[in-house]
């Protein structure tokens, strides 16, 4: 879709991810051993042939910018368009700190106008899904919509989402943001296609009040009687907003072979920047079951039902079970860890025993404090 420009909002911190997003934006959070959440949206874009992408950053952008670079991993380093990082800036009128999703788009409207797209595709950078956006854009154009909202059917608490009601022709009749008593089961994915001029009209109207797409812009469009259309997406779609849901999605990768189909390279492959590492090495006689292991790992101990990112070292007789281990973690001899998310670069000393009932995030700060107080869960032998 040559005439479509994508704007990806990657500014959110994702506070409910606790220590996981302490120093990084949510789209830069690791997923499935090798991926970062941002890989999904960028791969979807390149798989949909959309080559003009503005990435709007705010919270802790460094890691993300460093990761995306010129976008060559996703073949987005092209002459015409490609990836542009759009950062908050100051003007003669003072700071332009983003006050919401729509406000962020408004700030960078000069970028949009520069590319003169017919339609603008607005995306979040932190969802897990494989989708061809062209189907949605075609749906948008076929219905001559002013605005199209992608929807899905969540299998969890509906009150966390924006709930969409639509008629049989997919025209949206009402929209409720995080309702207590939802009237339908289809929720907004936070993915929108706007006609460019419609988008401009909406985001520049009452710029002191309309900051957010969900809260402000969609109700405004409905109120103004615009053609608001729904596009229903049947595939897998997950917003990993909490530590628990992030953990659960990882376990899903292990337990459900059909989930995400990461091995399917023909149909919407997910690209990720490849680390330059040798294959992982399972050393002498050990048990590795129901797990995923990334390049550069060296495994002497036991790994059960866990996902290991790159360069993880598991020493002799160490045991990890039901864990998600981020990259460059060292797990010492005889250590036993169960049901934890272990953050990058953590060093777990020999003989540490950490067995949790409820999934717990472990990082070096946590381990340091544990060492100081020798807390309930830790036992040295």
């Amino acid at each position: 879709m040559k005439k479509t420009l994508a704007m990806v909002l990657v500014g959110g911190r994702g506070t409910r991810l606790e220590r996981i997003t302490l120093h990084t934006a949510k789209p830069a959070v690791s997923f499935g051993g090798k991926y970062k959440l941002i890989d999904f949206v960028l791969s979807n874009l390149t798989n949909s042939g959309i080559g003009k992408v503005g990435i709007i950053t705010q919270y802790e952008p460094y890691e993300l910018m460093n990761y995306i670079e010129h976008g060559s991993t996703w073949d987005l380093d092209v002459n015409d368009g490609g990836i542009s990082f759009l950062t908050p800036y100051t003007t003669i009128d003072g700071d332009q700190w983003q006050k919401g999703t729509a406000h962020a788009i408004m700030q960078h409207f000069r970028y949009i106008e520069h590319h003169k797209p017919e339609d603008v595709l607005i995306l979040g950078g932190d969802h897990i899904y494989k989708m061809n956006y062209n189907d949605m854009i075609k749906h948008h154009q076929k219905n001559n919509a002013d605005l199209t909202i992608a929807t899905f059917t969540p299998n969890e608490d509906l009150s966390r989402f924006g709930i969409i009601n639509a008629d049989e022709n997919d025209f949206v009749t009402s929209f409720e943001e995080k309702p207590k008593d939802p009237k339908s089961t289809t929720a907004s994915m936070g993915i929108y296609v706007f006609k460019t001029d419609v988008l401009k009209t909406l985001v520049t109207m009452n710029i002191d009040q309309n900051f957010d797409f969900g809260k402000d812009i969609i109700p405004l469009a409905l109120k103004k009687g615009m053609r608001v259309v729904r596009y229903h997406f049947d595939g897998y779609f997950r917003d990993v907003g909490t530590v628990e849901s992030l953990y659960e999605e990882h376990m899903n990768l292990l337990d459900n072979p059909q989930y995400l189909k990461l091995h399917d390279y023909q149909n919407l492959p997910i690209f990720t920047k490849s680390s330059n590492l040798p294959p992982h090495h399972i050393a002498k006689r050990t048990l590795v079951r129901n797990s995923m292991i990334s390049d550069g790992c060296i495994i002497h101990g036991e790994v059960k039902h866990s996902i290991l990112s790159s360069k993880v070292v598991v020493k002799n007789k160490a045991k990890i079970e039901d864990c998600v281990v981020f990259s460059n973690v060292k797990i010492g001899e005889n250590a036993i860890i169960k049901k934890a998310i272990i953050m990058d670069d953590s060093v777990i000393l020999a003989n540490t025993e950490l067995i949790f009932e409820k999934v717990t995030v472990i990082d070096n700060d946590y381990l340091w404090k544990l060492g100081e107080q020798d807390g309930q869960n830790i036992r040295r032998r």
């Binding site: 051993g33 330059n276 040798p278 294959p279």
Partner: protein
């Protein structure tokens, strides 16, 4: 302020020339790719090591000189971005050959570099490192340059332990001098210069980290498996000097609930539910439940199905191993699959060999030995083997009573009906069948008639017509032009689609005849291009796969000098063309050979001296332990190099009375006459035993010090293999099977098992003889090392039979 000097140093002092011009003996692994493009340690390619070393040495100007099919290499390297080589200034250059008629040698020649002399002239760096694309190592070339400068050397060669790595550092200016004068220079390669040039200041830099050059399937598998040991892996995959490879996306490897592992390297994207022991797994491999894989390298996208068992194998990309299939190789001779092969278990493979001659029934030359020995060894390996031959008069006379009469038939040929009778004889569990035809095969001589093409055309037709008499064969193995019409006849029969392998033993004999033969055979829809047809050419165009008798000869046949009028046909079938070296019988061993004077083995080589004395006595030469005895057992014909032999003898015998020469053979009177003249002049040094008697040449193999084979061409050659087995060092020309079996002596590393010269040239041959003579006189310790190594070589029939079985399987599993 930026000074010119600092700018220069930023550009680096070195540019790199990557020599990927040679092919090495990697058989089907390099059939469709160059050695540099071979996968290694799961996700890497061999050339990644060289390119990463270059990058880690801050070298930004690189030229790769590829050989032949470099598509997969180009595909892998791309713009060189992965190694920081996509640059404005300098960068990566792939410089293909301009002259396609140069046969690839062991290393890049100055002539090859001259084709791209502009590159060398334009490069601004002062020094050049010339290195190869098939080395697994991690080295910093800047350090080598510092050493080179410290030693004030002209050329510095890099060695690992005792292994030459085809890697040199020298100044661009010196290299340019060699390149520009390549046509008058007596050295072809840098290796020649280093070895032979006088007044050259050479230095040797000894590299200490893990290093291997990948030259055959054995050391390819071995060095892959070496990466399973941390102490080795750490020396190659260093944190400070990483190895870069092409980016590819694959999810992490996944282990299911039946996985069991013991020392394995597993690449991304694989799904493991079986057992892996000492094994390397490439990207996106699927190992199903119950499969057991040991000591193997499974390349990317392969699938190993349930309960398969694999030991010591190299499975090329996209190989599928079916349920319960058992594959076993050994470390020295691993099983090698072909790309996209589907491997299944055979209940019992049924092979039909069709040939014009086969030992022990009828023999005029080497072909009979090969077909007879192959059949016997196939049976030993559990293959159900049948051989069909014409019933020549000689066979009838020799075996008449014992031949079992099977059935009579009529065959349509030239619109007439001919009667044939089928006879059989089981010899060493091989089922031999003979086709009797009084009209075509009732002569004493088996070849040499004007109607030979008709005779063998009829034979081919008869073979296809009687196939219904047998249970179906899995494959028909054909030999030379005498059987080359069988594939096209099969296409015109109910057996269309039956798999065939046509082996070319000698391209000189092709079976040219009138195109009327096509009509006589009843072949329809044949497109005639001229009045004449060429039976071998038709076979080449129609057989399922082709092979010849050595990997080097296979390469040579792509050039008109060797391939003659069939070069084009062979080139178009390049992807279906294999080179499999013949082997010699395990009975040819000085340990057990009853026909030699004293038995000996590698550890009792001093007893070989007894055989030398016996040879000198038998031949009526002076019995002298110090004498240097050269032996030859051969047909005396032009292509065996007799022009060279005669002139060489003139030069060496005169001033070296301790050089002796014995020859057993028969053939061309012209050469025999010349040789007789020399014999008259040096009666004490030369003895000719004219009248070829193949039953008793072994006393020469056992008694001589060196064995001469200066052939102009040699598809395979057996003499040099026998000589090696008897610890007699061969002096050979670098051609065909001689190139695949004899490795030149290197005084520096004491490597080699004989003496090799390059061009069909009296000077080069004489120099090789003198080199051997000097080694014999001055370095008896080296000479002994070479002899021991020669006797250790394994050119057994067992090995070549195994290769044929693997090829049959690959063809059947197409």
């Amino acid at each position: 302020m930026i000074t010119y000097g600092s700018w220069v140093s930023k550009m680096g002092r070195i540019f790199a020339v990557v020599d990927a011009t040679f092919k090495e003996n990697l058989d089907q692994l390099t059939l469709h790719r160059m050695p540099g493009a071979l996968p290694f340690a799961g996700k890497f390619r061999l050339i990644d090591f060289t390119l990463s070393n270059i990058r880690n040495s801050d070298i930004t100007n690189v030229a790769i000189f590829p050989y032949g099919n470099y598509r997969s290499l180009q595909d892998h390297i791309g713009s060189g971005k992965r190694w920081d080589l996509d640059r404005r200034t300098d960068g990566l250059f792939i410089l293909p050959p301009k002259n396609l008629y140069i046969i690839p040698g062991e290393s890049i020649t100055f002539q090859r570099m001259y084709e791209h002399i502009e590159y060398f002239k334009r490069s601004t760096q002062e020094y050049v490192v010339v290195t190869a694309a098939n080395i697994v190592w991690n080295i910093q070339f800047e350090q080598v340059l510092d050493y080179h400068l410290k030693k004030a050397a002209d050329i510095t060669e890099i060695l690992y332990e005792n292994i030459r790595l085809k890697t040199y550092i020298l100044s661009k200016q010196l290299l340019l001098e060699y390149i520009e004068t390549y046509d008058t220079l007596e050295y072809r390669t840098i290796a020649d210069v280093v070895k032979n040039a006088p007044n050259l200041k050479r230095a040797i830099y000894r590299h200490s980290g893990y290093t291997r050059t990948i030259t055959d399937a054995f050391n390819f598998l071995k060095s892959n498996l070496d990466m399973l040991s941390f102490s080795n892996g750490r020396q190659v995959f260093r944190e400070d000097r990483p190895v870069y490879s092409k980016e590819k996306t694959a999810p992490p490897a996944k282990y299911l609930s039946n996985a069991y592992l013991e020392n394995a390297l597993v690449s991304a994207g694989s799904i493991i539910d079986g057992t892996l022991i000492n094994t390397i797994i490439g990207r996106d491999v699927i190992i199903k439940k119950g499969a057991i894989i040991r000591n193997s390298f499974i390349m990317s996208n392969s699938v190993i199905e349930e309960d398969a068992f694999i030991d010591y194998a190299i499975l090329d990309k996209q190989t599928v191993v079916k349920k319960k299939t058992v594959i076993t190789g050994t470390l020295t001779s691993p099983y090698v699959s072909q790309k996209e092969q589907i491997v299944t278990n055979f209940e019992r493979m049924r092979v039909l060999i069709v040939a014009s001659e086969s030992y022990p029934f009828i023999k005029t030359g080497g072909l009979a030995d090969v077909t007879g020995a192959l059949a016997r060894n196939l049976v030993r390996k559990g293959v159900d083997t049948t051989v069909i031959l014409p019933l020549y008069k000689k066979i009838k006379d020799d075996f008449d009573e014992s031949l079992k009469r099977e059935r009579a038939r009529t065959i349509m040929f030239d619109d007439k009906t001919y009667k044939i009778k089928l006879f059989s004889y089981v010899y060493k569990k091989v089922n031999f069948y003979f086709i009797e035809s009084f009209d075509f095969f009732d002569q004493v001589e088996i070849y040499g008639f004007d109607n030979d093409p008709d005779r063998f055309g009829f034979f081919n037709k008869a073979v296809v017509d009687i196939l219904d008499y047998f249970d179906d064969f899995d494959i028909i193995h054909l030999h030379d032009w005498h059987t080359a019409m069988i594939p096209i006849l099969l296409d015109n029969s109910p057996y269309k689609g039956m798999k065939t392998l046509l082996t070319i033993h000698n391209i000189d004999y092709q079976g040219k005849t009138s195109s009327s033969l096509i009509n006589k055979l009843g072949i329809e829809n044949f497109i005639f291009r001229s009045e004449e047809i060429n039976m071998l050419e038709i076979g080449i165009n129609t057989a399922t796969k082709l092979s010849t008798v050595s990997p080097t000869y296979r390469e040579e046949l792509k050039f008109e000098y060797f391939g003659k009028n069939l070069t084009y046909s062979l080139l178009t079938r390049d992807r279906d063309f294999y080179g499999i070296l013949n082997g010699i019988s395990s009975k040819l061993s000085p340990e057990i050979d009853k026909s030699i004077h004293t038995n000996y083995d590698r550890d009792t080589l001093d007893l070989k001296l007894e055989n030398k004395r016996f040879l000198q006595r038998e031949m009526d030469l002076e019995v002298n332990d110090e004498a240097f005895v050269m032996g030859m057992v051969t047909r005396i014909v032009e292509h065996k190099g007799f022009d060279l032999v005669i002139h060489m003898l003139e030069r060496v015998l005169k001033d070296h009375p301790d050089i002796q020469f014995v020859l057993l053979g028969s053939g061309d009177e012209r050469y025999i006459g010349e040789l007789r003249k020399i014999e008259k002049r040096y009666p004490a040094q030369i003895r000719l035993n004219i009248g070829y008697d193949s039953t008793t040449p072994n006393y020469i193999y056992a008694g001589a010090d060196v064995f001469l084979m200066p052939s102009r061409f040699e598809p395979c050659g057996l003499g040099q293999m026998i000589a090696l087995a008897y610890g007699t060092l061969p002096i050979v020309r670098k051609t065909g099977g001689l190139n695949d079996t004899v490795e030149n002596y290197d005084p520096l590393t004491r490597k080699g098992n004989g003496f090799v010269f390059e061009n069909y040239d009296v000077n080069e041959f004489t120099n090789a003889v003198f080199e051997a003579y000097l080694a014999y006189k001055k370095h008896p310790d080296h000479f002994l090392v070479l002899k021991r190594r020669a006797m250790k070589e394994d050119f057994s029939l067992k090995k070549s039979t195994q290769r044929y079985i693997e090829l049959y399987r690959a063809i059947i599993e197409l």
